[in-house]
Assembly symmetry: C2
Homo-oligomer: 388 residues x 2
């Protein structure tokens, strides 16, 4: 459980950022943002003034928020008349998360607090949250161990002749009984994911959104993840799943083959491991995100598979890793255009993958913590392809 | 699959609404809105002019959108320079879904189209979508049959001594292998749900958000749904699950008891059925949503259980039914403040429920289609409590 000391550490880190930018406070309305600072995701709005104590205003359930939150000032959501009185006249510039807050919410709070300027603090918020405390990294380790325990069981139930969907359902069943909370939080607009992907060879021809690999899915309405395609012999079976425990998300991928594997695909897998090893060693404070992505591309190019790296030829994603934590798409991103340096305590899923239309998807993914010694592997089981 | 004729029917219905309000067109960016009009949820933006042909602008994957969408004008998302040229000078007032579009998205499109006024069309959009075509009602029937098939299997696997989580995992496994797409779309800000709820007696003491019943969940980060609490004899076991097939969501609840049930809870169940029957008969075009909710409250009051209706005493939700379709929280809502009349073809989950702190949750839920003969039951299996 989050302690009061740690919650206040998070609050003061955010306050320093607000002060540095001349923002008088931040109004958080997105559930996981409220949870990060308060310890509850009950339906609430959190006011973090640039100095002083935060106020948690709860719509529902107040009783539950009082049990769950470690903050000291927890109250019912005030009436429209009482609300402005909580904000002194000196509060003029209010931080708001423009990345996730719908326009109607901004309009609602602007009307409650007339004359104030609302400014976008999305990037600050993501940067603050990207650096995990020792407590958070321990939560991620617990999440990683649980997720790994299910990956280890795959040889018990993966059989030729089962549909991708049957493999997914069996994996998800074991993930749930291991305590997986199921619902995956993503921050970027337009993102939807149900637990993970279980894909056979045919999946390689289907893509959408910003991931490297998505699968066919069950319909045009849900066009990703497992389909009803049957898994056969001698093809790469690709399992990319998330673990969600106490809110903390780990992300990993392993490959399975019933029979033998095409040497070209084995070469792609070896290249994935080579990229992963290179990046793991480089996951130190100060390394530049974009440069790590470029280095991954160079290794893929040198290995002759640049055109298959991170997506179908022509639809390649321009990243090789993404932050994970309370959301699956946290900062930092190892991607083109991300020029920021890594910080100790950031946690990143590294996922070099190669797509071969008609033949399948090959790759590896593990969650690492950035440290002075390079990436600490949080999803710590053997990386090799499992042949059955 | 959506046909071109039906997609154009939806487009022209929306266009009539835009014209009636003097809006020159609508820019849809929310995936399920794009899907509704185009047949694809690939990462795209859809322009529906007040008159003329819609334009689907695809970020990724264009190839897949071309296969999936029935629209005729499908193109790559234009460059910032090319984008404004798609909108003639006569386009001044642009509809946008302020309910779901993040502020950053509004700012992005406002910058692409300087000088234009963006107006909120959230309500129009939800109203148009609330009335289902014959095709859509058939999709909901398929969804309902699949969901019912899993509810029928519960006596095979519900046992005393299993955790709520084990029951959930088993139910979800069967739901997935039956073809359930898993990811549940909800429109309202702040909503999160993973497939459904499997709750034992202790669940009654835990609530959050706008639902009547939520359960304890596995952590403060995921405070709803199944917990690790063990299911015992002689207590109400509450299963509230959704079916998602071809994007269409049905919603239902059934009760199970291993042993016998407290007569007070049996009375509450009988009252649930009485309310459901009353509302089913009343689900005709022209009935006023708010009045149906009030009638449900009156029956609960007369039965002596007004204080337990739709939530814990003191935290009661003020609704008894909600629209379902491509989202779990569609229009109309049978709730206080909803003064609109019902229309033929609307599909509504009716869910009278009673909460008894420490004793459990009791209720029923079925998805109905509004018709001239009253509600057509789409989740059509027996309503009675299953005693094991």
């Amino acid at each position: 459980m989050l302690t009061y000391a740690e919650a206040m550490q998070r609050v003061t880190t955010m306050q320093a950022q607000l002060q540095a930018r001349g923002v008088d406070g931040a109004l958080f309305i997105f559930p996981i943002d409220v949870y990060y600072f308060s310890g509850t995701r009950q339906n609430s709005t959190l006011w973090v003034p640039a100095t002083g104590e935060p106020i948690l205003m709860v719509r529902k359930s107040l009783a539950r928020a009082q049990v769950e939150s470690v903050l000291t000032d927890i109250r019912s959501f005030p009436s429209s008349r009482e609300f402005p009185a909580l904000f002194g006249e000196q509060v003029q510039k209010i931080g708001f998360t423009f990345d996730v807050a719908p326009v109607q919410q901004l309009n609602y709070y602007s009307k409650l607090l007339p004359g104030r300027e609302f400014v976008d603090i999305s990037a600050i918020n993501r940067e603050v949250r990207s650096i995990k405390s020792a407590y958070e990294i321990e939560q991620l380790r617990v999440s990683g161990r649980s997720l790994c325990s299910v990956f280890k069981q795959v040889p018990q139930f993966l059989k030729a002749g089962m549909r991708e969907l049957d493999l997914a359902a069996e994996f998800e069943h074991r993930l749930r009984t291991a305590g997986n909370e199921g619902y995956i939080r993503m921050r970027a607009f337009n993102q939807e994911l149900f637990m993970g992907l279980a894909l056979s060879a045919g999946a390689a021809s289907y893509g959408f959104f910003d991931g490297a690999v998505t699968g066919r899915g069950l319909s045009n309405a849900s066009p990703q993840g497992a389909s009803t395609q049957v898994i056969g012999h001698n093809e790469p079976v690709f399992l990319d799943y998330t673990g969600v425990f106490n809110g903390y998300i780990t992300d990993m991928t392993r490959m399975f083959v019933i029979g033998t594997l095409d040497p070209e695909l084995q070469h792609a897998f070896d290249l994935s491991l080579q990229i992963q090893l290179h990046l793991q060693k480089a996951l130190k404070p100060g390394a530049i995100c974009e440069e790590l992505f470029q280095q991954a591309v160079e290794i893929a190019d040198k290995g002759g598979l640049g055109a298959n790296f991170m997506g179908m030829p022509g639809e390649q994603a321009r990243f090789v890793g993404h932050g994970v934590g309370l959301e699956l798409d946290e900062f930092p991103v190892l991607a083109q255009g991300f020029k920021m340096p890594l910080h100790s305590g950031q946690t990143i899923a590294i996922e070099p993958k190669f797509v071969f239309p008609g033949k399948g998807v090959i790759g590896i993914e593990n969650t690492f913590a950035v440290s002075n010694c390079g990436g600490e592997k949080i999803t710590d089981i053997d990386d090799e392809i499992v042949f059955l």
